[in-house]
């Protein structure tokens, strides 16, 4: 791989999201193309300027990106569909970034999209005997990890219920979020038990939605004042001994887990560290995961994030505003679109276009997303 300093500077020229919602009367190519039309407008570009497209989705079937692009333009460009579980959008973004940074293309479209039926995800990222044993309940897998985390750090159910409360409050200020209503700690702690100790309001809701971006070489951008530079984009998979969900090797635990590795690489690549971040998107697929991800991303020591949360450190007006658009918890989780939505929020914040949820003077930000596989992807962006 080329060293970062041998790569061209890559900028995000445009972002667009559909509202994340439940669309029983729409089809995937419709919301996908809505995002593409949106991003062309935002980047002030015409479709023929696009040289390649990477399209992230998980359960949308063969050639779903082609289906969406077919509504917008047929210029013969390469279209590659990317399935990398909940990191699909971020993985597509990274491919576009590398293609431009490496000098292969100047202007690339990234799409992330998903529509899912109601209820838990029918995840098939397991062996058949594991599926038959009922081990594919992500909430229960996270619940096991949560129980171990609580025992190790003293974190309580109330601590991670406060994550839901914070993110739902941020969601009120995001017109694209699926849930735009606050909840109280009591409501969270009295919601239906899903997989002990996790309750319904500790779990992110699914949603239908799409997000698109146009990445380009710096000299190709139309609106320089709104362009945001990609400072790093990393993707890691399992490291030996960590396991998928706390089921790591007792004999040979790894020095760095998948999340630490993706963050470390992003800090190396960008030259920035957690102390430089003005605004952050972390993976809150389950409320407690936001607590431990911030620790793994290096923002504090293990077990310390709950105190920072209670001290307001992660609030919109805090030191490190976290999941400012409401996170997965409010925005909803259209699997293939989530990574794009996270990056779009940081771009929006760094542009100063986040309206009522704008973080003052935000110059550098980062996102973190995970997925079955497992995958972990970190993106660092700067003004």
């Amino acid at each position: 791989m080329k060293n970062k300093n041998q790569m061209r500077e890559v900028v995000v020229a445009g972002v667009a999201l559909t509202k994340f919602d439940i669309y029983p009367d729409r089809e995937i190519h419709q919301i996908g193309s809505e995002a593409i039309f949106g991003v062309l407008k935002d980047a002030e570009m015409a479709f023929p300027e696009i040289e390649a497209a990477f399209c992230g989705s998980v359960y949308q079937g063969t050639g779903s990106g082609h289906q969406a692009l077919r509504e917008v333009g047929l210029t013969g460009i390469p279209i590659v569909n990317v399935e990398n579980a909940c990191s699909s959008g971020a993985s597509a973004f990274r491919l576009a970034y590398q293609m431009i940074g490496g000098g292969i293309y100047d202007v690339v479209l990234v799409l992330g999209m998903e529509m899912l039926p109601k209820g838990p995800i029918p995840s098939t990222a397991f062996r058949p005997w594991e599926l038959a044993s009922g081990f594919n309940v992500q909430m229960a897998n996270y619940a096991n990890q949560t129980q171990a985390y609580m025992a190790a750090t003293g974190a309580t159910v109330e601590d991670f219920s406060l994550i839901t409360v914070k993110n739902r409050n941020n969601g009120i200020l995001n017109p694209n979020a699926r849930f735009r209503k606050s909840v109280t700690v009591e409501e969270v702690m009295n919601s239906r038990m899903v997989a002990t100790p996790l309750r319904l309001f500790h779990c992110c809701p699914l949603a239908d939605g799409a997000g698109a971006m146009i990445l380009c070489a710096k000299d190709k951008v139309k609106s320089k004042s709104r362009a945001i530079t990609v400072a790093a984009s990393t993707l890691t998979s399992a490291v030996y001994g960590e396991g998928m969900m706390g089921d790591g090797s007792l004999k040979f635990p790894p020095e760095k887990g998948i999340v630490e590795l993706s963050a470390h690489q992003a800090y190396e690549e960008s030259g920035y560290g957690p102390e430089d971040m003005d605004v952050v998107q972390a993976y809150d697929t389950m409320a407690p995961s936001e607590l431990w991800e911030m620790e793994k991303l290096g923002f504090c020591a293990k077990g310390e994030s709950r105190k920072l949360l209670r001290d307001g450190y992660f609030d919109l007006t805090g030191k490190v505003p976290l999941n400012t658009d409401g996170g997965l918890m409010s925005r909803g989780h259209p699997l293939g679109a989530t990574g794009i939505a996270q990056i779009a929020e940081i771009v929006t914040q760094l542009r100063g276009e986040a309206g009522k949820r704008q973080v003052e003077n935000a110059k550098i930000g980062m996102t973190h997303v995970m997925g079955a596989g497992p995958n972990s992807s970190v993106t660092v962006l700067k003004k």
Partner: protein, 144 residues
């Protein structure tokens, strides 16, 4: 007409021993003779994922261990793959051999489950198939 005899069918062949005598069944795993790492289920390939060598041999695991973590699942999993009862419990078990593994828990009362709870291996019913046969699997059961 006589009623067909119900059979017991393992969820997957090769996961545990089925001794003819009064010995108890044991889980079958792979152990690396070079680094000592243990894998369950037994690896299809003679290949240690830790030290990258073809040094695996078959071993039988301890029948007793301790829970590392557990969760009681209150709703039907997605996809229709699981046909057992709901609610049900699963989590991680540490065996003294030096392996942490996922397992279902077999308990009369979910309140019998605790972290670092002593548990022992049982092989019993997961669900009935369409012909009325019992599909059985390994589980760990809290010890009294």
């Amino acid at each position: 007409m006589s009623k067909p005899v119900k059979k017991q069918i393992p969820l997957k062949e090769g996961f545990w021993t089925t001794p003819k005598s009064e010995d108890q069944p044991r889980l079958i795993a792979s152990k690396c003779e070079f680094c000592g790492e243990i894998f369950f289920p037994k690896k299809d390939n003679n290949w240690c994922l830790h030290c990258y060598q073809a040094t695996l041999k078959e071993i039988l695991l301890s029948r007793e261990g301790k829970t590392a973590s557990f969760s009681v699942v209150m709703q039907q999993p997605g996809g229709g793959f699981y046909k057992g009862p709901v609610p049900y419990a699963y989590g991680l078990v540490d065996l003294p051999d030096g392996i942490r593994m996922w397992s279902l828990f077999d308990c009369d009362n979910f309140e019998d489950l605790a972290q670092e709870q002593d548990v022992e291996l049982v092989i019993n019913k997961l669900h009935e198939d369409n012909e009325g046969n019992e599909v059985v699997t390994f589980k760990f059961r809290p010890k009294k």
